[in-house]
């Protein structure tokens, strides 16, 4: 069964872990042992039953009532495999949220309808990040409707505000599906609730099912292999890499960039077996008519006729987890590249979607950045090739953000 990965998004305490916990119960996935354990833990801590305890397992998470790091659970719903990735909602734990969300193709954003909670900067920030990281279908679950007496006007107002924000950041609003729920009371999770008679849409699980069915990744089908390294094979070496798009055939002429090597593939091994061809998603070990010299890690193998020129300058959007002051480096295609220059143009306040001056605090905000390297790299716009158009950002030894390539400047 293929697994559809879905990340949870949203401000802390808006109910992400509670939702996943209750989905596990409502779909009959959680074992009795797990439910009983969660009940006991709730009692011990003197609280009402918390379905989120089925997930959160660090002592600190349960006692502190927060999610520290991501976790994943799987649910089989109507013969479709789902994996829900729970992530922390706290601002200071955003690198953990990014780690979890980076594996997902879909998202559920939780936002609380409780009057003192509502739409928060972190709610919008998570939407901004999801859009940036390439998630293009989102279910927006307006949670805790019980605290708002299941009122339609509360739901509509929140929907309007979120739609305005989605428009501002360029997210197609047709790909956003709004559902009023109570994660705790299981309203509209797997059964349509009688408490929201004004709501005519699907349950959360059915909406998820509709989102993933028929979803196919679009690529231009051209051959792209990111070179991982070499492995010894007798006296010779083989080049290893992962095919991120297209197919490769034995005997085919390819070009390896940025070194600009043209070679003919001789042998292709997939999972230890020699094959005539290999395709997208497979990890290959290759030999060529002439053995390439030196480390090719981070190089890209294209078909002979495709030429993507190496570049020393790219325009990008970077989401910063910190207000960087020192030189940064990026990790792209498995290699770390120092940036000689990182020219920050506009900063985007990700809590509002508004453009700010370049001097604005970049912590938890995004910026248009022009990056310059002393050595040529291979990159493509994120829109064309997600794998070759995304990178993580370091300042010395410290992770400070992630970015996507908008374009290469030649």
């Amino acid at each position: 069964m293929l697994i559809n990965r879905i990340t949870l998004l949203g401000h802390k305490d808006h109910g992400k872990s509670t939702l996943i916990g209750n989905l596990l119960i409502q779909t009959g996935t959680a074992s009795e042992q797990r439910i009983n354990d969660a009940k006991k833990t709730s009692q011990k801590l003197g609280r009402k039953f918390e379905p989120g305890f089925i997930l959160d397992s660090f002592e600190e998470e349960r006692e502190g009532g927060l999610t520290i790091d991501t976790t994943r659970v799987q649910i089989n719903y109507k013969d479709i495999g789902f994996e829900f990735i729970d992530v922390p909602g706290h601002e200071e734990l955003i690198k953990n949220m990014m780690s979890g969300a980076s594996y997902a193709k879909f998202a559920i954003l939780l936002v609380s309808a409780k009057s003192d909670e509502g739409i928060r900067p972190q709610t919008k920030r998570h939407l901004f990040l999801a859009k940036m990281m390439g998630i293009n279908k989102i279910i927006i679950a307006v949670n805790k409707m019980d605290y708002a007496n299941y009122r339609k006007d509360v739901f509509d107002n929140m929907r309007n505000e979120i739609e305005t924000f989605l428009h501002k950041i360029g997210f197609d609003k047709k790909q956003a599906y709004f559902i009023p729920i109570s994660a705790y009371n299981a309203d509209n999770l797997v059964k349509i609730s009688k408490k929201t008679p004004w709501y005519k849409g699907s349950t959360l699980m059915d909406a998820m099912k509709n989102a993933v069915v028929g979803e196919e990744e679009e690529t231009d089908g051209k051959l792209r292999i990111i070179v991982q390294g070499v492995l010894p094979s007798g006296k010779k070496t083989m080049t290893t890499g992962k095919i991120i798009s297209g197919t490769i055939k034995a005997g085919e002429k390819v070009s390896i960039v940025p070194a600009n090597i043209t070679a003919k593939t001789k042998e292709i091994f997939v999972k230890g077996k020699k094959q005539k061809a290999a395709r997208k998603g497979e990890n290959v070990a290759l030999t060529f008519d002439k053995e390439p010299k030196g480390s090719l890690r981070g190089s890209v193998i294209y078909g002979a006729t495709v030429s993507v020129r190496p570049t020393k300058r790219v325009s990008s959007i970077i989401f910063f987890t910190k207000n960087v002051v020192k030189p940064i480096s990026i990790k792209i295609n498995g290699n770390e590249i120092a940036c000689d220059e990182a020219k920050i143009k506009d900063v985007i306040d990700t809590g509002t979607g508004s453009k700010m001056k370049s001097s604005y605090d970049k912590t938890l905000n995004a910026a248009d950045v022009e990056l310059k390297f002393s050595k040529a790299i291979i990159a493509e716009p994120f829109e064309i090739s997600a794998e070759l158009g995304r990178f993580v950002v370091y300042q010395g030894k410290e992770f400070v953000g992630l970015g996507i390539v908008k374009g290469c400047i030649t």
């Binding site: 069964m1 293929l2 697994i3 074992s31 009795e32 042992q33 797990r34 833990t41 997930l55 959160d56 397992s57 660090f58 002592e59 600190e60 520290i68 790091d69 991501t70 976790t71 994943r72 659970v73 799987q74 649910i75 089989n76 495999g81 690198k95 953990n96 990014m98 780690s99 980076s102 991982q228 390294g229 492995l231 010894p232 094979s233 083989m238 290893t240 992962k242 091994f269 999972k271 230890g272 998603g281 497979e282 990890n283 070990a285 890690r297 990790k331 498995g334 794998e387 995304r390 993580v392 370091y394 030894k397 410290e398 992770f399 992630l402």
Partner: protein, 262 residues
């Protein structure tokens, strides 16, 4: 339990195993002769065209099952494994936390230091335990082997490596995405040799294998791989229900792992 697409799982595991040998100078793997670490070795053989390219370590407290020792001997020979047996001393009164925490971890520390390994492949799976579900594919340990679970490195897209503390080592988890039943589907497809204790004898079988002191069998009539797969597809009992260390008290696994346990 969901049966996942094996092709996708295998590709990710192969990528991670190759990434480990690319990034680190001295890689070793833990091999308990159980189904998971044996599956990992089968995947390493696929990634490296038939050869396991790193040493495999058995932390041996001399109280494993006789079948397990026989299996170790046979497969090490068949697959030409570079086997390191790291002996740990066991006292009769030891069990659970003291045994797994101190005993095994001390022996592991010694062998890591003696050989200078900087990366250790450990075949844990997310679905085994809530704490293991929190792990990264590549997870740093400090020089005391401590796991700083409150501040784990970012692991975004295929960028598995954080910047590391030179004095510590990195745990590599190529099987993190696999479910228990996926392991059995793979064993079936690839005809991976397996410890006979997993099959039912007299109405009992081991679902998860540890040492003789702390492992108890489950009631089962599954005498074949197909029967095991059929059993797992419908079970709601936790895999490690027969493992003493998890049950002792709350958060034992968290504490064991924070101190360096696998």
């Amino acid at each position: 339990m969901i049966q996942q697409d094996l092709k996708e799982l295998e590709e990710r595991s192969i990528y991670i195993i190759r990434e480990a040998t690319t990034k680190f100078d001295k890689v070793a793997a833990l091999w308990s002769m159980g189904k998971d670490s044996t599956t990992m070795l089968a995947l390493a053989r696929k990634a490296f065209l038939g050869k396991v390219p790193f040493p495999v370590i058995h932390i041996d407290n001399n109280i494993d099952f006789p079948e397990t020792y026989k299996f170790r001997q046979d497969l090490a020979k068949k697959w030409k494994l570079d086997l390191i047996v790291a002996e740990s001393e066991i006292k009769p009164e030891m069990s659970g936390f003291a045994c797994c925490g101190e005993n095994k971890t001390v022996a592991l520390k010694k062998v890591m230091k003696d050989y200078g390994f900087d990366a250790l492949i450990v075949s844990i799976r997310r679905d085994e335990h809530g704490i293991r579900a929190k792990e990264r594919y590549m997870s740093p340990r400090d020089k005391e082997f401590k796991w700083n679970f409150k501040d784990q490195p970012a692991e975004i897209w295929d960028d598995y490596s954080s910047k590391l503390d030179a004095k510590g080592h990195v745990r590599i988890h190529p099987l993190l995405d696999w479910n228990e039943v996926d392991i059995w589907n793979f064993i079936k497809k690839e005809k991976v040799p397996i410890n006979p204790l997993y099959y039912s004898r007299n109405g009992l079988r081991y679902r998860s294998l540890g040492c003789t002191h702390c492992t108890i069998p489950i009631r089962s009539n599954a005498k074949t791989i197909d029967a095991i797969i059929g059993e797992l597809a419908v079970t709601k009992v936790e895999e490690r229900s027969g493992r003493e260390q998890d049950k002792e008290k709350a958060y034992v696994m968290q504490k064991l792992r924070a101190l360096g346990y696998m």
